[in-house]
């Protein structure tokens, strides 16, 4: 083999290797991008499903108005009838720790409703005859370099049967609380975690795209995330309209 032949062979080899390297890098980028988009979409879908399930059960809602005043956003607090009770009694009605935190405890018993004679509507009471409800709050959180959405529940809120049950702080002394992450999103933008809108943005409007009022029976939920590390301006957007079942019948 002559020297020119070797040089030509090396040149061809170099080209082939550089193509391979380039392809490999591109594949890895594509892989990373696909993974992050898939993860983000899964998280968005999970948050949306979790929100929708709680919104449907809610008898009252309390949204935060966004800084621009055009939409509602997190934190969001929902009033939901307390349909589970401890079993045995001193134990909590809801899981307080672990992956299932905030779900009904495995041993919890049901709370059946009754009819409030004055209005003919359904009412839920504890063993002492007090109306009873839980507060479910969705809020932004942070974990390392990630922005998260946390679902927190607090219980029990009580009121006499003849009163309107309100989630007035503080919680009673027997209060319990539990929270878990329902979605996490990587901070790919240059913005800090204190600026959630660049990483993750959850907004709510009514079906006329206006701020939600107490008489609305449908909520449009919109979740924006930035899953692409190279192009954080490209948003993954998921929308859903949730019809508030329990609130509709009031």
């Amino acid at each position: 083999m002559t020297l020119p032949e070797i040089m030509i062979a090396l040149a061809i080899l170099g080209i082939v290797l550089s193509v391979c390297y380039g392809s490999s890098v591109a594949l890895q980028r594509g892989f990373a991008s696909t993974t992050s988009w898939a993860d983000a979409r899964n998280s968005q879908l999970r948050v949306l499903d979790s929100l929708a399930a709680d919104l449907r059960n809610a008898t009252a809602t309390s949204f935060t108005t966004s800084a621009d005043g055009l939409t509602n956003t997190l934190p969001l607090t929902l009033t939901i009838p307390m349909r589970y009770q401890p079993n045995p009694s001193p134990s909590p009605a809801y899981e307080t720790t672990g992956a299932l935190a905030g779900d009904p405890a495995r041993s919890a018993l049901r709370v059946e409703p009754g009819v409030y004679a004055t209005t003919g509507s359904m009412q839920y009471r504890d063993s002492s005859g007090q109306q009873v409800a839980i507060a479910v709050t969705y809020r932004y959180g942070a974990s390392g370099t990630k922005r998260t959405i946390v679902r927190q529940i607090d219980w029990p809120y009580t009121a006499p049967p003849t009163s309107t049950l309100a989630l007035s702080p503080p919680l009673p002394t027997a209060a319990n609380t539990a929270s878990r992450e329902v979605g996490s999103f990587t901070n790919y933008s240059s913005a800090s975690l204190s600026d959630p809108d660049n990483i993750l943005k959850v907004t709510f409007t009514n079906d006329d795209m206006q701020l939600i009022s107490s008489s609305d029976t449908a909520v449009v939920v919109r979740i924006e995330a930035s899953p692409d590390s190279r192009h954080p301006e490209k948003k993954s957007v998921l929308n859903d309209t949730v019809f508030l079942r329990e609130a509709t019948f009031k």
């Binding site: 392809s23 890895q28 499903d49 399930a53 449907r56 009819v115 004679a117 009471r125 329990e246 019948f249």
Partner: protein
């Protein structure tokens, strides 16, 4: 210069390089495939989970449909083995302790066919006794199930499993969701005025308000507060905005149509329409300046038809044109009278001082206060005209309760009807729904005050205040409504819960997120 060639070594190194390259590419590609597949799996499982909710709600709707069919057939499920279910998709009268299953079409991923998406639901009757009159509340617990596509694998994030609680252990992998819905009865007497078609209040002197005959703070000896010549309440009792009586508005008038001309009448309640508009252009709800409540445009409530009674123990007569007295039976065995038959229609037409009287039954020749229930079925028209008597043309003796079913037209004018009970719940008038295309008219325009309820979902209702005050105390339902003159509708809130059940309305909805589903549909109090 010559270099010694070693072709065997070169061949081997090229092969290694190729294998390494292919391996790296294969690993990358397989990772990508695994990732995409996991994402696809999550989407599929989430989709099945969503579909399970739709299936569960389909079960709730099917339960309500069964109740409505039970209403139409006068065979609502009774308390029995709990829960109540039917062995066929519609009531057969046989109760079992098993749930009813409905299948849904499933066109998504996974095994296709009806068996892949279904709902199992149970109906449980709870007699609510917390209110004055026991009312049937039904609980529908529905479990929607959808088969999962693909293998046993979960998505990459355990939070998905926590949220959706998929069943991956058995041979048949499924997503299930459980809904508990409560429905409460809606009675024919709920509200002063309800129609399917437009409401027309054709005079600004008309007013519609409410009182409560069972509440001494909201009635005067069980009667609505009287008004002076200017229409003002004499004692300020009953009115929602009267001093010291801050009670909610209850005199709501409602139509299933978008059209309501309120005629600037005073309405002490809301005006509810189905899609009505109040805009300046194309308004369908008009002249609402004296409506004290709100204009609400998302109302709809089906008006169940009334079918002809099928009595085997009625006293049947021909048409009535002369004075006649109907006497009562007991509460458990009311006296039943039928005028005419389907083959030979019978009418009651009174004029020239002729009078129909509803009176007590007798025991050993004397009036018996326990025999005070009368039911009358008129297969044709029921009309009163003219004058000449100090009483009305139709008289109900104090203490007697009357139900009247009319298949034709009803017209109480002239001396009209006098109900000496002075309570609306003592007289129920039902208009039997006419065949499609047949017009039916119910006119109340007598000289005297009217105490009673009218439910005639197929009739055009005309109320016109005649002589004295033109006061109609009770509840009125028709296909359409036209009010004229100085008509006053005074709705008795104590009527709610009496009369017939016209439909069922959802009172509660809850998704049971506990893994095994625990609600049984029993009232706690």
């Amino acid at each position: 210069m010559k270099i010694r060639s070693n072709s065997q070594s070169r061949t081997a190194s090229a092969l290694v390089a190729v294998i390494i390259t292919i391996t790296i590419l294969a690993l990358l590609a397989s990772s990508l495939v695994v990732n995409v597949n996991n994402h696809r799996m999550t989407i599929s499982q989430a989709s099945a989970w969503q579909e399970a909710l739709a299936a569960a709600e389909a079960g709730v709707h099917q339960g309500i449909a069964q109740l409505e069919q039970g209403l139409a057939q006068n065979s609502l499920p009774l308390a029995g083995p709990s829960p109540i279910a039917w062995s066929s998709p519609f009531p057969s009268g046989t109760t079992t302790s098993t749930s009813t299953r409905v299948y849904l079409n499933h066109a998504g991923e996974g095994p296709s066919g009806a068996s892949n998406s279904y709902a199992d639901y149970t109906l449980t009757l709870n007699e609510n006794t917390t209110q004055t009159i026991p009312r049937p509340y039904y609980c529908i617990v529905s479990v929607g199930t959808v088969g999962l596509p693909g293998g046993k694998s979960l998505s990459v994030d355990s939070a998905d499993a926590v949220l959706r609680k998929l069943n991956l252990r058995t041979a048949t992998r499924t997503a299930t969701r459980t809904i508990e819905a409560w429905v409460k009865p809606v009675y024919t007497t709920q509200g002063p005025l309800k129609t399917d078609q437009p409401i027309n209040l054709n005079n600004h002197n008309i007013f519609v308000d409410s009182f409560n005959s069972a509440d001494p703070t909201r009635s005067v000896n069980g009667l609505p507060d009287a008004r002076d010549s200017n229409g003002h309440l004499l004692t300020n009792i009953g009115q929602f905005d009267a001093p010291n009586f801050n009670v909610p508005l209850s005199a709501n008038i409602a139509t299933n149509s978008p059209f309501a001309n309120i005629g600037n009448a005073s309405v002490y309640g809301d005006v509810l329409t189905n899609g009505g508009a109040t805009d300046a252009n194309g308004a369908t709800v008009t002249n609402t300046s004296n409506v004290k409540g709100q204009i609400i445009n998302d109302y709809y409530e089906p008006l169940e038809p009334i079918y002809a009674p099928q009595w085997s123990n009625a006293t049947v007569s021909g048409s009535v044109n002369n004075s006649k007295t109907y006497t009562g039976g007991t509460a458990t065995s009311p006296a039943r009278y039928q005028v005419g038959t389907i083959a030979s229609i019978g009418n009651i037409k009174l004029s020239g001082g002729k009078q129909v009287t509803f009176d007590f039954g007798t025991t050993r020749g004397s009036p018996d206060p326990s025999k005070n229930y009368i039911e009358l079925y008129v297969t044709g028209d029921f009309t009163t005209r003219g004058s000449g008597s100090t009483d009305g043309s139709v008289v109900i003796v104090n203490g007697v309760n009357v139900k009247i079913y009319v298949a034709g037209d009803l017209n109480f004018s002239g001396n009209g009807l006098v109900n000496y009970n002075n309570t609306a719940k003592s007289l129920e008038i039902y208009g039997i729904s006419p065949p499609d295309g047949t017009t039916q008219t119910f006119t109340l325009a007598g000289n005297s005050d009217f105490y009673g309820t009218v439910y005639a979902p197929g009739a055009d209702l005309k109320l016109a205040g005649g002589g004295g005050s033109g006061e109609f105390v009770g509840s009125f339902t028709g296909k359409s409504a036209f009010l004229n003159g100085t008509t006053q509708i005074r709705y008795d809130e104590a009527l709610a819960g009496s009369g017939r059940i016209s439909s069922f309305k959802i009172a509660g909805w809850f998704e049971d997120v506990k893994k095994t589903g625990t609600f049984t549909g029993q009232l706690q109090f």
